[in-house]
Symmetry: C2
Subunit: 155 residues, 2 copies
DNA sequence: GGAGAATTGTTATGTAACGTAACTAATACG
DNA sequence: CGTATTAGTTACGTTACATAACAATTCTCC
């Protein structure tokens, strides 16, 4: 035998990391034909769900900092998938919308991702999938709530 | 309401990404007091479980490429947690072992990580945890097996 | 037993996905 | 009005990866 990771296997964190990196490379391969990556696809999908969204809001939803969005949106805009139009009620902000081209690409990509997702879930029955879903949500919440401990106390 | 990610929420991949990044920052904070990061801790723990391991094998276990290990091991060795000793049966290779100091640190860090892991699982009963565990393994396998499709066919 | 192939660790280098600090333009607010 | 805040941006740094090329060593096999 070549060696084992028995200690680490005890941790969910380790399992999640492995599952995630397995998915990640795979999903990027799925999106490559569309000229998209995980991040650009995510942004595209969220904008499609929320026309008129501001960049700050998008950053909040995706849990990334605003500066990181700039390049992502530049890329999407450069590919004519998204437009930034100045908001007329607040000329600092942009309203984000997907173009027709963006909508079509997004829908096709969403199909592909859905198919990919289904493949990752092969071998699980409906109840297992549901449990997995809930468990992930729970972990996300458990993580975020421990964030607060280190944040603003009373300014 | 500020905007939603309903499309993405349908995908396990998205849930895993979120759960993972929630864990990641948190676990790095847990390890920081020990002077470790996720990667260095993982390497340390695996070496502790497999004294005499070669770097190539460690890379395989951790699913990273050999060059990336070099810096990680430099760091661990520089902190006197690990030693590289030339293997006498193959003078190209190193045998990796944790030092006494490394063993102690590893054990304390493992405790801390275990506590952290437990916090992430709060709100789940035993059966839910077990299901989560299995589900993650399954996803990992589903991902890896689709790797093969793109790899060596018949050299 | 010696030449070419393979393997171990390494160096150099590139990239993607983040984060922080500091700036500009615009708005809000007392 | 003037000061603080906010939206997007620029510049820059870090971490976690990957690939290519290389020296030293070992393997293979004729």
């Amino acid at each position: 035998m070549t060696g084992s990771d028995r200690t680490l296997r005890g941790f969910v964190g380790y399992g999640i990391k492995r599952a995630f990196s397995a998915i990640q490379s795979d999903v990027n391969a799925t999106l490559a034909p569309f000229g998209l990556r995980m991040l650009t696809y995510s942004a595209l999908a969220v904008i499609r769900d929320n026309p008129g969204l501001r960049q700050t809001q998008l950053a909040e939803i995706l849990l990334i900092e605003r500066p990181n969005l700039v390049l992502i949106l530049d890329e999407l805009e450069g590919a004519d998938l998204v437009v930034r139009t100045r908001a007329r009620d607040d000329r600092r902000a942009y309203e984000l919308k997907v173009t027709l081209k963006g909508r079509r690409l997004c829908d096709r990509a969403t199909e592909a991702v859905a198919a990919h997702d289904a493949r990752m879930l092969e071998g699980m029955d409906e109840s297992m999938r549901e449990t997995l879903h809930q468990a992930l949500r729970l972990i996300e919440m458990n993580g975020r709530s421990s964030d607060d401990r280190g944040k603003v106390s009373r300014p």
